[in-house]
Amino acid sequence: MSATHDSTIPSTPLAAGVPADALLARLAERFQAVRDPLDRWDLTVLVAREQMRDCLRFLRDEPDLRFDMLLDVSGVDYLAFPGHRGARFAVQYPLKSTAFRHRIRVKVMVDENDCTVPSVHDLWKIADWSERETWDQYGIVFAGHPNLKRLLNHHEFSGHPLRKDYPCQKRQKLSVNDPMDDQLEARLVARGYTVVERGDRDLGTGAITHSAAVTPGATP
């Protein structure tokens, strides 16, 4: 039996975390972070886009912080927010630690005309999908993401549904399934395979047989 269920083994309690004020002071000194004006209940820090990756890496790697878990990547569109000034979008990164009892949210404001944020898919594996979702819903580009494609909405969808100017009742239909060859080939390449020739999709439930654009004898 490998799952242990022995009540004599005490569970290891989380160590006390760094207090919010001290954490904020450190981030303010190092990354010019400020407390988010909308923050009333948790600790949320606003950092500039240029410093965001460094800040997140610092939070993850610092031995007494160890925010090793990225819980989510979440976008917000402040277009209709009363009294809001400045950049239209924000991206939030809620973090928690598996070693200390503390949490933090890092927030970056993103301007509509330069809707780009650096990707953190190399810092946390989950960021790959979470960033795809945020791109899908808000149209925020994550620079450096290996394959920024839609996640929740289908691949023929146009627009970004969670933007405040996207009409709630608008529907978009899908005609042909996404063959997902790009993702599959990327997985194979990552594992050391070289794709020599693409073929038609073999039998499978829900499969759409499609004629893939095959370059004859193509070797990447």
């Binding site: 490998s2 799952a3 242990t4 269920h5 569970s11 290891t12 309690p13 989380l14 988010d36 909308l38 923050d39 009333r40 209940w41 948790d42 949320t44 090793d68 878990m69 990225l70 819980l71 917000v76 209709a80 927010f81 009363p82 809620p94 598996t98 949490r103 949210r105 946390w124 989950i126 999908w129 996640l151 929740l152 909405n153 549904p161 969670l162 996207y166 709630c168 997902m180 060859d181 993702q183 599959l184 080939e185 990327a186 997985r187 194979l188 594992r191 050391g192 395979y193 070289t194 794709v195 020599v196 020739e197 693409r198 073929g199 999709r201 073999d202 499978g204 439930t205 829900g206 499969a207």
Partner: protein
């Protein structure tokens, strides 16, 4: 497709779709897999087949109108979603719900955790061909649903809580019914444990299959039973206790290998811990109000509405406009059956939520599936998918 393997040999991979309508996906999920014989050489996962635009819908109505939508996230344990959402909004109001409400919520959450694990484990075993366990577990699950019916009239989508309390107090005899169901659950768990724990076929199919290391699990943001199966001893009920969980005696169950076997067995043991928490909570259930007296959240009594002008206005405002949390952004989470279920709520001070982001626990688990499956046999796909307990409702929202 023709490929060169990492060893430099020519090979022909067969690409197949596992899903979206596959009996073992228990929902609509699609995995495009490239097979090298019986081995999965590469897998790409797709989601979104059950995407109903939860996060867009909830912006259109009041906070109270969000509650029935939360039922449709993880529909195997709808009450946990109800409670998690109400708890997040109550945090924004800085309102403490009454003691009886807290204890009731603990009982409902732990029973919901049990039925969620029951479904997860027994359908997982069906995928492996062990049908008998399904009947043992679905029988007791049905008994819990009968309690739900008596409690709120609904079985699957309960909407049992309200912001600031409960839909209604427990019915007379609720404690006896729960105590009886707990005994039945223990018996069912014991039977299934006896059938699978040392079962050679089961162990051959699950031991050392689709192993996820602690580092991988943390990097993928795993929480809940799947994280604990990988040996990371983290449980929000212990680490950041809410609703007095620190005062209950229970153990966190932790695995050592992070394989399919651990992920299934952890749920079996966790059910017994939840039974113990439920019993302790039943002993603490004292008579009292279940709704807060805070007029910003709770409706006044009928008697007051008929005889008092202020109460009438309050009733009208709460029904027609809804609650108004202060402007700001708030994250709150609970340890749901599958892991950390969080709500990140942006309020503009109005009656409609400006933005609600759900942090569904199984999103992170599904994101790791590609990596889990690669290098494994295609026959193990169903068992490992079942062991991470993907609920499409909360995955796709």
């Amino acid at each position: 497709m023709k490929v060169l393997t990492p060893e430099g040999e020519h090979a022909h991979l067969m690409t197949v779709n596992l899903g979206p309508a596959h009996p073992a996906t228990h929902g609509t999920l699609r995995i495009a897999a490239a097979l090298d014989g019986e081995t999965i050489a590469g897998a790409a996962c797709e989601m979104g087949y059950l995407h109903r635009g939860f996060e867009k819908m909830v912006e259109q109505g009041t906070y109270q109108m969000v509650l029935p939508f939360t039922d449709r996230l993880n529909y195997c344990s709808a009450m946990i979603n109800n409670i998690a959402f109400c708890k997040a909004v109550e945090k924004m109001f800085a309102v403490e719900v009454p003691e009886r409400c807290i204890v009731l919520r603990v009982i409902l959450m732990e029973l919901s955790r049990i039925i969620d694990h029951l479904v997860c484990v027994c359908t997982n075993l069906v995928d492996l061909g062990a049908l008998t366990n399904f009947w043992y577990f679905f029988n007791v699950r049905e008994e819990v649903y009968i309690v739900w019916e008596k409690l709120c009239g609904a079985r699957l989508t309960n909407t049992v809580t309200r912001i600031g309390g409960m839909y209604r107090d427990a019915y007379p005899g609720f404690e006896d019914d729960v105590a009886r169901v707990l005994t039945r659950i223990e018996a069912a768990v014991a039977e299934v444990r006896g059938l699978i724990e040392k079962n050679k076929i089961f162990m051959d199919r699950t031991k050392d299959i689709c192993v996820v290391s602690a580092e991988q699990a943390v990097s993928y943001g795993w929480t809940g039973p799947c994280l604990r199966a990988s040996g990371v001893d983290r449980d929000m009920r212990k680490d950041e206790p809410y609703y007095g969980y620190e005062t209950y005696q229970f153990d966190t169950v932790v695995g050592t290998t992070g394989d399919t076997y651990d992920r299934i067995m952890i749920r079996i043991y966790e059910m017994l811990e939840s039974v113990s928490i439920c019993r302790q909570a039943l002993g603490r259930l004292k008579p009292g109000p279940v709704n807060t007296s805070d007029a910003r959240l709770s409706l006044p009594s009928r008697q007051q509405v008929y005889h008092d002008m202020e109460a009438l206005i309050n009733n009208f405002k709460l029904i027609y406009e809804g609650v108004r949390p202060p402007a700001g952004e708030c994250y709150d989470a609970v340890e749901a059956a599958n892991g950390e279920l969080g709500f990140l709520i942006t309020s503009d001070g109005g009656t409609n939520p400006y933005r609600i982001k759900v942090r569904p626990p199984c999103f992170t688990q599904y994101a790791a599936l590609s990596e889990m499956l690669e290098g494994e046999l295609v026959a193990d796909f169903a068992a490992s998918l079942g062991s991470i307990n993907i609920i499409a409702g909360e995955l796709d929202r």
